[in-house]
């Protein structure tokens, strides 16, 4: 069964129709990339999956978004539980102005109750190990997170997410501020993480989408034009608009 499935998903920002009848299935423990020109609705789609768009005034949605079979657009959906289950990594890493340690256990402090110091230490160690930062940072866990390099900050943000044991990681241009070496290392990390998580990434970098994703979708003007296996989409797209975009002839 798909981890996430959208059924006739529509979204409006006031009068602006930002997502139009989007139907897609996101497979568990796979990386799915969403590509498309600026303003095509790809980040909006990503933010639907943990209802981040709810924070924007005038947003209206229609249709269904099923995660593990449950419609998260249901007004009764538990948003705290949803955002624990579906975490998000942003374009610019955004650690809190706290220590490295406090950043990682921040979620636990919100979601967890009665957790012991030893358990917190264990979560910090495991989360940092999962993002391959433990060896670098184990001796300076109390240092301010803001003192880290950009790449370390992005890894820390991923560690902060996985500390609350989500199922799905949403990544909105996670490497756009990183240099090519740091980008390559984050991509390697994503490949490791997909063994345990369902990852959906929005990226402008088509080569990145081609390199790391299993499935890929192309969006244009709020529509999901094409969705399928990444190798198929990048070697033999079925829709002329996809072909024009990925060969740089769009517009």
């Amino acid at each position: 069964m798909a981890k996430i499935a959208t059924r006739k998903l529509n979204l409006w920002y006031g009068d602006f129709h930002a997502l139009k009848d989007v139907n897609a299935s996101f497979e568990p423990k796979k990386i799915t990339a969403i590509i498309g020109p600026s303003g095509c609705g790809k980040s909006t789609l990503l933010r639907v999956f943990n209802r981040m768009n709810d924070l924007i005034e005038g947003v209206r949605t229609d249709g269904e978004v099923l995660i593990d079979g449950a419609n998260i657009l249901d007004p009764c959906a538990d948003l705290v539980a949803l955002r624990k289950k579906v975490g998000m990594v942003f374009q610019r890493p955004n650690p809190f102005p706290l220590s490295i340690y406090e950043n990682i256990i921040f979620g636990e402090r919100i979601h967890g109750a009665g957790i012991t110091r030893d358990e917190l230490d264990g979560i910090v160690e495991k989360s940092l190990k999962d993002v391959l930062l433990w060896d670098e940072l184990k001796d300076r866990l109390q240092a301010p997170a803001l003192s880290l390099s950009l790449e370390q900050k992005q890894r820390l943000c991923i560690a902060r997410l996985i500390a609350v044991r989500p199922d799905v990681l949403l990544m909105d241009e996670p490497c756009s501020t990183l240099d090519p070496q740091a980008t390559a290392r984050i991509e390697e990390l994503m490949r490791e993480l997909k063994n345990n998580y369902t990852i959906i990434i929005v990226t402008h970098n088509m080569q990145q989408a081609a390199r790391i994703s299993d499935d890929a979708g192309f969006m244009l003007l709020g529509e999901l034009i094409e969705f399928g296996k990444t190798d198929q989409l990048f070697t033999a797209p079925q829709d002329r608009r996809t072909e024009d975009y990925i060969t740089g002839r769009y517009g």
Partner: protein, 225 residues
């Protein structure tokens, strides 16, 4: 506005066309040399092969450079990868023309074994297939590529006829004819190999145009014929 990218693709297309023209010329001259017992022409085919080799390397280099700089996708990626493969096929075709020229040099100073009838016929089929294969690539013409594939049985049949005639009517009956008959047998085999290379080109063109792999999948060709 034409992009630099498109300009480079166009240049690559022209280079492959040039490679095709060189290969076609090599086949024509090698068989003309055989028919006219023209030693000079046979030698010119052998000498010109260096040009073909040079162009093959230049095209390969351009393709690799293009991939490195532009990371082409979709139809551009299929064009470049197909272009590289067709480049190699054309170089092999030109090499085979050299083989024919070398066999011709073995024959020119010996008495004619028999009037050449079926070898020119097979040559005509091979030349037609080479031309159609190159044109199908340049024009991205699937129908023409399929026409190349459907010509293969004719080439095989002609080669078998030549083989049968040379063995049964000459080699078996008169062993002194064997050295010359073997050269002609080889030439027929070379011409048929040229036809095989054109079918590879045609299969690559079908992949380039419609992203369908028909190579080693004869059922796909039958289904659509």
């Amino acid at each position: 506005m034409e992009r630099h990218f498109d300009q480079e693709l166009k240049e690559l297309n022209e280079d492959i066309l040039k490679m095709g023209a060189l290969a076609e010329e090599a086949i024509y001259k090698s068989v003309e040399a055989l028919k006219n017992r023209d030693q000079g022409m046979a030698k010119s085919v052998i000498d010109n092969d260096a040009l073909v080799d040079q162009l093959e390397l230049a095209i390969d280099e351009k393709c690799i450079d293009f991939i490195a700089r532009y990371q082409p996708m979709a139809k551009d990626l299929r064009f470049i990868t197909t272009g590289m493969k067709i480049n190699a096929e054309l170089e092999r075709i030109a090499d085979i023309a050299v083989d024919i020229a070398q066999r011709t040099l073995e024959l020119v100073d010996k008495p004619l074994l028999k009037p050449l009838v079926d070898i020119p016929k097979l040559t005509a089929v091979a030349q037609k297939m080479v031309k159609a294969a190159i044109d199908s690539f340049v024009r991205a013409d699937i129908a023409l590529a399929r026409q190349v594939l459907s010509s293969e049985p004719e080439a095989n049949e002609l080669r078998n006829l030549i083989h049968q005639e040379l063995v049964d009517d000459y080699m078996v009956k008169d062993s002194s004819s064997t050295p010359r008959a073997v050269q002609l047998l080889l030439i027929a085999r070379f011409l048929e190999r040229i036809c095989d290379h054109t079918t590879n080109i045609a299969e690559d063109v079908i992949y380039m145009v419609q992203a369908e792999v028909v190579k080693h999948h004869p059922e796909k060709l039958k289904k659509e014929n």
